[in-house]
């Protein structure tokens, strides 16, 4: 049986390495990000330095505090992709960086991870209120 966890981890590592190689750390994505001004920890950082730190994270290095904060601030606005002069999928690059700092590949998380342990039960509890028994049997 295929190990999907290993397959996903490999895909994340390969994609991370590919995008880290292609990224020039020019910082245009950082300048375009609507989250930079609300996230005080990174507002004074030099864009190129932050993105160099993001490349490090993608290459399995610890990354700088500013880069970790920037990755942790990502809410998938996608403005970075529009801004990238290399035409990279910068939003995916940042998503990969976020996965890495969240510890997705088994490393210790470098940021606080929000997780609702009751997510599945909550989804089902609402379904019991808003969907009929027949609908739940067919739709869930």
């Amino acid at each position: 049986m295929r190990d999907t966890g290993k397959a996903l981890a490999s895909y994340i590592r390969d994609s991370s390495a590919r995008l880290a190689e292609a990224c020039t750390a020019c910082g245009e994505c950082y300048r375009a990000c609507p989250m930079v001004s609300p996230i005080l920890a990174v507002t004074d950082a030099a864009p190129a330095a932050v993105m160099a730190g993001i490349r490090d994270i993608l290459r399995d290095a610890p990354g700088t505090a500013e880069a970790i904060a920037f990755a942790g601030a990502c809410v998938r606005s996608g403005e970075c992709t529009q801004a990238c002069p290399e035409n990279l999928d910068a939003a995916f690059l940042m998503r990969l960086a976020l996965l890495r700092v969240r510890g997705t590949l088994g490393d210790a998380p470098r940021i606080a991870v929000n997780h609702d342990p009751k997510w599945s039960a909550r989804v089902k509890a609402f379904a019991r209120l808003t969907m009929s028994e027949e609908e739940r049997a067919e739709w869930l």
Partner: protein, 281 residues
């Protein structure tokens, strides 16, 4: 209203849409009326992996199971609602587990069949509507242009121009960041005043559940874009989530029998705290 379908799709509504059963029902009816037979599918059994993405092994297992179930269903198109599910399918699910189907967002499908939809939009809906638009997802699927285009076909309805853009791809992305959701809601209410809009339209479920409480004490209406299409078609619906969230006592609004039937303890622990949460602003 039903017509002979010329397409069979899976309507993958996601997980947290279980709060909005009427939207799932309305989407299914609307698709049926434009010739698309849709099988609604969602909940934790069809997870995209994002709720558990801090652990690749668990997220990958859930995502692979979902792709395999879609493959087994044999329909050639999976129509998404949730932008997280849609992007996860493209970015992390299909690259790892081969998908035997095309993925389309619901707005793309309706936009492609807009001339059929236009014929159904016969009931005037008098409203000046502001779109609750996010930056994100627009680069992947042009929701911020397609939703106004679709709503613009409704007689009596005016989409107001405003450059409101909220960070993230939907409000659940910004809700955990301290103060950001409240800031977004302040900006949204200011945009309503500036544009003279009387109706705020949400695109996604997580934005809807966060925004509906803003109706309290304000002469505005907050609806999802599917609600407006339903009104123009003449499909009856009740936005129960909004009703319960804005009720003085959600328990009374829902009714004791219904709560008991859904499970008293689960309601008290999992549902009630959310329904009693005060508005952000």
């Amino acid at each position: 209203m039903a017509v002979t379908p010329d397409a069979n799709v899976t309507f993958w509504y996601g997980c947290n849409m279980s709060r909005h059963g009427e939207i799932v029902r309305l989407v299914t009816h609307i698709l049926d009326a434009i010739g698309v037979s849709a099988a609604p599918t969602g909940g934790p059994g069809y997870c995209c992996g994002s709720p558990l993405e801090a652990n690749a092994r668990i997220a990958a297992g859930m995502a692979a199971r979902t792709v395999e179930k879609f493959n087994e269903a044999g329909r050639d198109t999976v129509v998404t609602w949730c932008p997280s599910c849609h992007m996860n399918m493209d970015d992390l699910m299909a690259p790892v587990t081969e998908a035997a189907f095309e993925t389309l967002h619901i707005t793309q499908l309706l936009a492609a069949r807009r001339e059929r939809l236009r014929l159904l939009l016969v009931q005037p809906v008098e409203a000046r509507v502001l779109l609750h638009a996010h930056y994100g997802f627009q680069g992947r699927v042009p929701v911020n242009t397609d939703v106004p285009m679709l709503l613009g076909m409704i007689p009596g309805l005016t989409m107001v121009d405003h450059n409101l853009r909220v960070p993230g791809h939907m409000c659940s992305a910004i809700a955990p960041k301290p103060g950001l959701l409240a800031q977004a809601h302040h900006e949204t209410m200011a945009a309503m005043e500036e544009s003279g809009a009387d109706t705020l339209v949400t695109i996604f479920h997580s934005c809807h559940r966060e925004a509906v409480a803003l109706e309290r004490g304000r002469p505005i209406r907050i609806v999802n874009w599917i609600h407006l299409l339903a009104e123009a078609i003449g499909l009856p619906y009740t936005d129960e989530y909004k009703l319960w969230r804005n009720a003085e006592d959600p328990r009374t609004a829902i009714g004791a029998d219904r709560i008991t039937a859904s499970g008293d303890i689960a309601f008290a622990q999992l549902v009630e705290p959310e329904l009693r949460r005060p508005p952000t602003i």
